[in-house]
Symmetry: C2
Subunit: 330 residues, 2 copies
């Protein structure tokens, strides 16, 4: 047992990374209580150290363009760069060096989660990514831990905030569909490639990660029956309105067959829902997920599915959990 600080390295310092760094400094006393040992930021890898950043309380000497040096020797490595490379190589380097890894990188986990989990097991380190799925809503933790003694039968929900914002504008405020699409774009609510949101690719990645967590199955993005919202028309919304219904983009996964070897089906598609359905009442950019389990029945989770500070909450939760593991080991 030692009292030495647990070292935390950040890769990336965009909106989420900056929020994580600020909160790590602000909440240092709280995190020391919760992890049993103080946490200390030892480096923040960025593409361009000269760029101005809003990091009150965070020593600017921590910023560096040398990501590998930041990774090496850190107890916990937190990847918030996004994209496939160099994120993947740096995570692999961290695991090979015995670091616990936390990431918010949804596409990386959706594409390479299985290989990364194998590598984490081989090196005896943790790999956590609560922030990759529905930001602050702790749906992965609920599936993996709270329901560890139960058998999940289905998961469904509104897991993409941008499309929900658009559909809510149309349904609740009567904004024409095309105008709602444009408004979301202007407000910066859509990913750099809008198809990520509008064609349901983002939602598909999330439901794939959820299904793997719930059933331990090797599903991929290709297994998702996927239809986005771009083919909807004002006539569809009128029809829904006329029958007292609302259109929502629903991601879902359901299992059949024996529990130890389940068959899992996955879909992302627009669905018409009665106005008093809990998903119908999920407004603006909020997310909602229902997990059905054999014993627990239906569990509903609802909260912010995006936002810098909201996503940072999930990342910081994983960091403190990883720090607890480090404290228990040494």
């Amino acid at each position: 047992m030692t009292d030495a600080p647990i070292t935390v390295a950040l890769l990336g310092c965009g909106t989420v990374g900056a929020a994580v760094a600020r909160r790590a400094v602000e909440r240092a006393e709280l995190f020391a209580q919760r992890a049993g040992r103080p946490l200390t930021l030892t480096g923040i890898a960025v593409r361009d150290v000269s760029r101005a950043r809003d990091l009150p309380g965070v020593p600017s000497s921590l910023l560096t363009e040398d990501a590998e040096s930041v990774v090496d020797g850190a107890d916990v490595v937190v990847e918030l760069m996004g994209g496939m490379e160099p994120a993947r190589s740096l995570i692999e380097r961290a695991m090979a060096g015995g670091s616990q890894v936390v990431t918010a990188n949804k596409q990386l986990i959706a594409h390479h989660g299985l290989a990364l989990h194998r590598m984490a097991a081989q090196h005896g380190v943790g790999l956590d990514y609560e922030a990759a799925v529905v930001a602050a809503v702790p749906v992965l933790r609920v599936v993996r831990e709270a329901l560890a003694g139960d058998q999940v039968t289905s998961i469904s929900g509104i897991v993409n905030g941008s499309t929900n914002y658009i559909l809510d504008l149309v349904a609740r405020l009567g904004v024409p569909f095309q105008e709602a699409l444009e408004r979301a774009g202007r407000l910066g609510y859509l990913e750099a490639d809008p198809a990520e949101d509008l064609e349901g690719l983002d939602a598909a990645a999330k439901i794939v990660i959820l299904a793997r967590t719930a059933w331990g199955v090797d599903v991929t993005l290709e297994d998702v029956q996927r239809e986005g919202i771009t083919r909807l028309t004002d006539a569809d919304f009128e029809q829904a309105r006329g029958t007292g219904q609302v259109i929502k983009l629903i991601a879902s996964a359901w299992s059949s067959g024996p529990a130890a070897q389940p068959r899992v089906e996955l879909a992302v598609r627009p669905v018409m829902l009665a106005a008093d359905h809990p998903f119908a009442q999920t407004r603006e950019g909020r997310n909602a997920v229902v997990i059905e389990a054999e014993s627990a029945g239906a569990l509903r989770l609802h909260g912010a599915g995006a936002g810098g500070d909201e996503t940072a909450s999930a990342v910081l939760g994983d960091i403190v959990q990883a720090a607890r593991r480090v404290a228990a080991l040494h």
Copy 2:
């Protein structure tokens, strides 16, 4: 590392205990996958072995009236007897012997949680009780783990199913209040001492446990400003209806002051809510909790707050987590 089964002892075999035992046998293969080693029931302590029980698949030779012999040597001890004694002594015996402890005993934890946690820390064992608060809804785990990197500012909710059933009968189906009270009693929805539910004692115990988990403060049942539903009259319900509102029994806890040394206030009382408030829409015996945290914003959880199989789901989740700890240790 060994492949030897992890031994699990059950204390108590009422509705929840029987559901736990049945599911442990039914889901043996699943639990072995999830814990990394098989789990095996080594004993079930009951008051009267001759009583008939519905335990398909569970060898009746496991039943015994000798609770101490069941505790000794088990890797995980699961207390589902309820009440203070002998539950407390048996849990202390289990911890002293190095067993992980899981319990669903709300009143024991509300009264003696602090002393039991000290003893667990001293012996280096886990003490978990997700099922003690809102059954299958994993609110303790969300507060303790998912929000480990955040700062909870308030927790509020409908945490007692029986009173919600009564209030929902009156508000939604127009049943007179006295008749609704009697119906809940006849259906067996009230505790042996109905004041537990009706005077808010059950809700108070839950909010005390939640507040301790969120803020690490030493609050007790005496700190709760408590008012049950027994002083409500039909006139109150008419008034609510007239203004489009609904009366719900809300338990709440909120913090002020510095995060490392917060001041916490606790209340249980009937509250009038607008009809479109998420709590107003919580029907029948269901429970709902909103956790507000500085970074995450508002997280809403909703699900079954009672029921044998639903409570067993939470107990089994804690058992598998405890088994994972045992597997990691040896």
